[in-house]
């Protein structure tokens, strides 16, 4: 069985995000980019399934500008067998991603499609569900444990907020694997080849930082609290 894993190149999780001065988006130039953590977990799960003998091949897919190839190389270094890069220069909405994935699934015919629950740059949590809908495949969302028994389904993976409840801990890319990855194939295609028109239904009007949290006030007695609630906050 072939497993297809979708991975996304996003701003690194540990980077302090800054909003661009013109408020059109988040600063991404000169900022470290890496694989979305949920996608890493998805890929790790696929690799474990392959090592357990449940799958024959793991294909990694990424969509975006040319730099996505770096992220695909990381995926290959972790152990994926092949990579597919869909070259799309601009921004992509989840629906377009879902349509592209459907086209790829139709051509590659994997038995299982695994995606990360959400991307840490837009936090949409939509692609997995949309793809399943388009393909009319059964889906399992927020998976904390996966075991195969002959079914086909697409399942976004959950990574719980608490550090213990991760589905798995992604492996590091070792040097021998990096060497092997150099000889693995990354196929390139475009949306036109897949017959998917990319149009954006959403327009980002403005991106601003959330307002800074005001300092709290330490009160000395319950009476003072009641007084403040009554007169200042006017909630009672």
């Amino acid at each position: 069985m072939k497993i297809m894993v979708a991975i996304k190149r996003v701003v690194d999780y540990a980077v302090k995000i800054r909003v661009k001065p013109d408020k059109t988006g988040v600063e991404t130039t000169n900022v470290k980019m890496s694989m979305n953590p949920f996608c890493e977990i998805a890929l790790e799960e696929a690799l474990r399934m392959k090592e357990a003998g449940l799958a024959s091949e793991v294909v990694a897919v990424s969509m975006g500008p040319a730099k996505c190839v770096d992220t695909l190389r990381t995926g290959l270094a972790m152990g994926a067998d092949r990579g597919i890069h869909v070259d799309v220069p601009g921004a992509l909405q989840p629906l377009s991603v879902a349509k592209l994935l459907k086209a790829l699934v139709d051509s590659e015919k994997p038995g299982l499609l695994i995606l990360g629950k959400q991307a840490i740059d837009d936090d949409c949590n939509q692609t997995g569900q949309m793809v399943a809908g388009l393909l009319s495949w059964p889906q399992g969302t927020f998976a904390s444990k996966i075991s195969i028994c002959g079914l086909t389904f697409s399942a976004p993976l959950r990574s719980s907020r608490s550090t213990d409840l991760r589905l798995n801990q992604p492996r590091y890319a070792t040097l021998p694997n990096i060497l092997k990855a150099k000889s693995k194939v990354i196929k390139k295609c475009t949306p036109e080849e897949l017959n998917v028109p990319i149009k954006s239904d959403l327009e980002t009007v403005q991106v601003i930082e959330p307002p800074k949290r005001k300092a709290g006030v330490i009160l000395s007695s319950v009476d003072e609290l009641v007084d403040k609630l009554k007169n200042e906050a006017r909630v009672i």
């Binding site: 690194d12 999780y13 540990a14 980077v15 302090k16 000169n30 900022v31 470290k32 890496s34 694989m35 953590p37 730099k67 770096d70 990381t74 270094a77 801990q169 590091y172 890319a173 070792t174 040097l175 021998p176 990096i178 060497l179």
Partner: protein, 639 residues
């Protein structure tokens, strides 16, 4: 002459055989067991048993009295004078819980740009308004002052003299103007009346006032910053007054173009790092203790750290210092100039002096720009010689982008995995003998990653590396650093630890670790790690408890071995209290053969030129010896 030499050599050899495993005698004195006819040789016997038994409190230092405490309260205010026993417990003990002092007083001086206490201003106003302070005398006194504040002060004075002729409401305006001028003047500069003739104005620092008083009373003083030192240099030995710089934590200025940062000595390193991060710069030094250590302490101890390999030591990066000497004189050497060849560069004396020549109050430091692409590789080598070859190859192939090169041995990694939470072995598939952490920093992400990958793969094919992992994102990189930076913490959790920080030639570095393993056997876990790129070994010996027998096996041997290979017994940790009397291992001329056993003997005539010069400098800058006594220099020289 030859006969003398033959005799002395014979004697010394004889000594070594007999004294090798003898426990040290705790008393000073001349050693006369086998001297007999060799009285011609002047011998100075220094014993080095654990310092607590040899160091006596210097009787010349006074003890703190309640008058002193009230005087300090006047200078600093009630809040910043701490004499509560409970609060002093942490200040009296070092981070490793190895050294404990018994100070009864801690002072926390504040920043300089502060309003002088209102009582002083009130006094001035009183004098001025009552006419006690004649205007002419004041003008003479302040003749070197040319500030506009003084001008407005004089004008206000003039106005005040005509107060009685003014209608009532203007009176208030006049008083307000006068008070404003006075307060502005008081807050910016203050003339020390007895130094006016020579110095004009100088900034008054609370530290300076404290030290002047302590010097006059002969009260011993310990400057303390973050208290993260590893050689007991930041804690009192007896009842010295602790001067804690934590309240002096302002960032004075930062120049975005040149990257020169001027800040006070109490700024915590991590805070400076986050401040600079916003500006796009980094600090040139990085230590595991960055969450608590303060820049004043870093400068005073010439801290090394993980970035020394790339950015050099603090001697190169510190552009200026403001130092307070023992008698309260403030040396304002705070320049922000990259190049300044005017006279003797005195700041280098204070960098690394460990607070024994003066207290650093402000630092001007050159910060490098923050580069965006950082790549980190965690590698495994099968033996030490491949680690060395890897270092050479990395310097050549990765040259300008290489920013750190650390190593750990397998015992260190085991300890970390066992005792540190959240530590994960990056190479779990097999155990290797040595691990290397190699970091590159540059401005072009993809180009450097390719370069690093190509180098690593080439090294792997060449057999230098047996396995390795390349960090793919910042999280993975910080988990690798966590392993290397967590070794000291893991050692602390494993029980008692004897720490040695040695600079040795790269080829010989690991030989010492192996010899110690053979010497100590199964009684102790000998761990070696450190900055391979700087030839700096951190030799740590971990045992379940502190044990004098094991200490006897370790101590003179390690220093002797280091001395024999022309290394340094303290590469970056400093001498502090732990190694105050060990300076001779690294600072004596090669012609001297020093026999180091339970007690070490030195022909007095042959040694000590360099160290005596250090002692005379100390006497010059601190005649009463109040700054950080009993540390850095051997006690017998300090007096």
């Amino acid at each position: 002459m030859e006969k003398w030499r033959a005799t002395s050599r014979h004697l010394l050899r004889h000594f070594s055989k007999d004294l090798f495993d003898r426990r040290m005698s705790p008393s000073f004195g001349t050693f006369n067991r086998q001297l007999s006819s060799a009285e011609a040789v002047d011998l100075v016997l220094l014993s080095f048993v654990s310092v607590a038994t040899t160091i006596q409190r210097n009787p010349l230092f006074s003890s703190i009295s309640s008058d002193d405490i009230s005087h300090f309260k006047e200078i600093l205010g009630e809040k910043n004078v701490i004499h509560d026993e409970e609060k002093l417990v942490t200040a009296n003990m070092d981070w490793m819980r190895k050294y404990k002092g018994s100070s009864k007083l801690m002072l926390q001086p504040r920043s300089t740009e502060e309003w002088i206490s209102l009582s002083v201003v009130a006094e001035w106003i009183d004098c001025a308004l009552s006419g006690v302070w004649p205007l002419k005398k004041a003008a003479l006194a302040f003749r070197k002052v040319n500030s506009i504040y003084f001008q407005s002060l004089v004008q206000s004075f003039n106005l005040c003299l005509r107060i009685s002729e003014m209608p009532p409401h203007s009176l208030f305006i006049m008083i307000r103007l006068f008070l404003q001028a006075l307060c502005l003047f008081a807050s910016s500069t203050y003339c020390d009346s007895d130094k006016l003739g020579n110095y004009g104005t100088h900034l008054i620092l609370q530290v300076s006032q404290i030290l002047k008083y302590c010097n006059s009373r002969c009260l011993a003083v310990v400057p303390q910053g973050g208290n993260t030192g590893l050689v007991g240099g930041s804690v009192p030995v007896f009842d010295e007054v602790i001067i804690n710089t934590s309240s002096m934590s302002k960032i004075v200025s930062f120049d975005k173009v040149s990257g020169i940062l001027v800040c006070e000595a109490g700024c915590i390193l991590e805070n400076l790092v986050s401040f600079l991060d916003n500006q796009g710069f980094i600090m040139p030094l990085d230590l595991g203790a960055k969450g608590s250590c303060q820049i004043g302490g870093n400068v005073s101890t010439n801290a090394g750290g993980l970035r020394l390999f790339r950015y050099g030591s603090l001697h190169g990066n510190v552009l200026g210092l403001e130092v307070v000497l023992a008698n309260g004189t403030v040396l304002d050497m705070l320049r922000t100039l990259r190049k300044d060849n005017t006279g003797y560069d005195l700041k280098h004396l204070f960098i690394g002096s460990e607070g024994s020549l003066g207290i650093v109050s402000k630092v001007s430091i050159l910060t490098p720009p923050k580069l965006s692409s950082v790549n980190l590789a965690f590698l495994a080598c099968k033996d030490y010689s491949s680690c060395q070859k890897l270092l050479l190859a990395a310097k050549r192939k990765l040259g300008e982008i290489l920013s750190a090169f650390e190593f750990l041995d397998t015992q260190a990694l085991d300890l970390v995995l066992k005792h540190l939470e959240g530590a994960r072995n990056p190479l779990p598939t097999s155990m290797h003998n040595f691990y290397i952490l190699m970091e590159t920093t540059g401005s072009n992400e993809s180009y450097e990653k390719e370069k690093l990958e190509a180098f690593l793969l080439h090294s792997m094919e060449g057999g230098l590396i047996s396995d390795g992992v390349l960090a793919q994102d910042i999280n993975q990189a910080s988990s690798f650093w966590h392993i290397r930076e967590g070794v000291p913490e893991a050692l602390m959790k494993a029980g008692a630890v004897y720490k040695y920080d040695l600079s040795l030639p790269v080829e010989k570095m690991y030989d010492l670790v192996e010899e110690m393993r053979i010497r100590l056997g199964p009684a102790a876990n000998v761990v070696g790690y450190g900055h391979l790129g700087d030839s700096n070994l951190h030799l740590n010996i971990s045992t379940p408890q502190y044990d004098d027998a094991i200490l006897a096996q370790i101590e003179p041997f390690v220093y002797e071995w280091t001395s024999k290979h022309h290394g340094s017994i303290s590469a970056e940790h400093g001498l502090g209290l732990m190694k105050a009397d060990k300076i001779f291992y690294s600072k004596s001329p090669e012609t001297v053969s020093i026999i180091l056993v339970g007690s070490y003997l030195l022909p007095k005539s042959l040694c000590v030129d360099i160290v005596q010069l250090m002692a005379s400098i100390k006497r010059l800058l601190d005649p009463n010896g109040i700054l950080n006594p009993y540390k850095v220099l051997p006690p017998f020289l300090a007096s």
